[in-house]
Symmetry: C2
Subunit: 230 residues, 2 copies
Amino acid sequence: MTVWDRPEPPTRPTPLDRERIVAAAIALADEGGLEAVSLRKVAARLDAGPMRLYGYISTKEELFDLMVDEVHAEILPEERPGDWREALRGHAHRTRRATLRHEWLADLLGGRLTLGPNALAVSETMLSALDGLADVDTVMRAVATVSAYTTGAIRREIADLRSERATGLSKLDWQRAHGPHVSRMLATGRFPALAKAMHEGAEVDAETSFSTGLEWVLDAVATKLAPLPG
Amino acid sequence: MTVWDRPEPPTRPTPLDRERIVAAAIALADEGGLEAVSLRKVAARLDAGPMRLYGYISTKEELFDLMVDEVHAEILPEERPGDWREALRGHAHRTRRATLRHEWLADLLGGRLTLGPNALAVSETMLSALDGLADVDTVMRAVATVSAYTTGAIRREIADLRSERATGLSKLDWQRAHGPHVSRMLATGRFPALAKAMHEGAEVDAETSFSTGLEWVLDAVATKLAPLPG
DNA sequence: CTCATGTCGATACACTGTATCGATGCCTTA
DNA sequence: TAAGGCATCGATACAGTGTATCGACATGAG
């Protein structure tokens, strides 16, 4: 019996921590969407049994919360924004880009309060960028309104994206793609405005679309923050 | 052997249809949230085996789509709106109220394209209310922007609601409620703007909150539809 | 009356999140 | 150093999920 024959001692498994668990979960979600994230698969990626995870998280929902907060680290601005408008605009675009990198985020955005350290830091930077420009309630309203638009617009964009991907067709073939159903509906003549929009609407790229709406909302916020004197 | 002894013929089960299936699913979701909706439970409500449903729907996702479209019937305006602003405002508020009646809708809103007849009809009324007030692209942008705000704001409101419900406490006790975590965070002094907002912010009811943000967005739309001459 | 055909739904499968609790290793004490 | 008690950890088990499969059945034709 030499050392070579002696079996390895039962490999002390790598100790886990939340960070590694969340990273594994995010990797899975990036690859296969949220529904590809199961505690068993996350654990498997870390050479552990499923129950191992329950020492670090107490529920799958909590894991999702941690994932969302982790991505918020990517949403934190790298440098101090110039003014409030740039702060809000930057936040919206960073959120959008993060969601394009992690599409599953669209399924979670706005679904639960996110109170992790990164999410709080993000809120902090937005609020502080507006601090002093109006009373507290107006400032909060401004942040909430822009965030609501951002959440809604991003979800919509991702929904479109998935739909296109599923049919494998561009928006031009959209009607045909969605089977006879929509075409038939439009053909009934019951939806003239919709039909007109479908036929005459220009095809704008998603980023421009997002941006345009965002600027509208920012314009609105501007008038509330600095109402015209008089 | 009398007629009384003769066993009942195997009860021809009530024939199903999509409508009854969707109604059962909505009832379940209203009672216990989306995750209470399982094909087995839906089927059980209709005295059927699970596989019975697959004659009418081909996937659980499809059932969700049908549920969403069904609720859109409640969102259709009852009477022709006075002007574009009332049309958009009405739609937003009806969507909000429908979501308060069917909280699970918040989980689905904006998550997938909804192309059912009711959803199409809703889009039609919104687009037609704006028809002619600007070029097609601006009109579509207006509808999309208001819808995005609506989706995002509603999701946020429901998330808050659930959070409050889970802790059983009002927003006043919010910090304490969310355990030491948030309080500790705020106490670190790393989030002064957030702390200020928490302490000085007035407690406004959800509807007012929703309304205020909505009017801001509508103001923005107004300036794009009817730009000042010059 | 027999047989072919097509439909329908019971059974089965692979997988989920998580409660339970016996085995295991560790630390303390004699 | 040896033994004992304790806490921790994770394998097993459970109740449930969505849905593929395919045998049994009812139905229609010959």
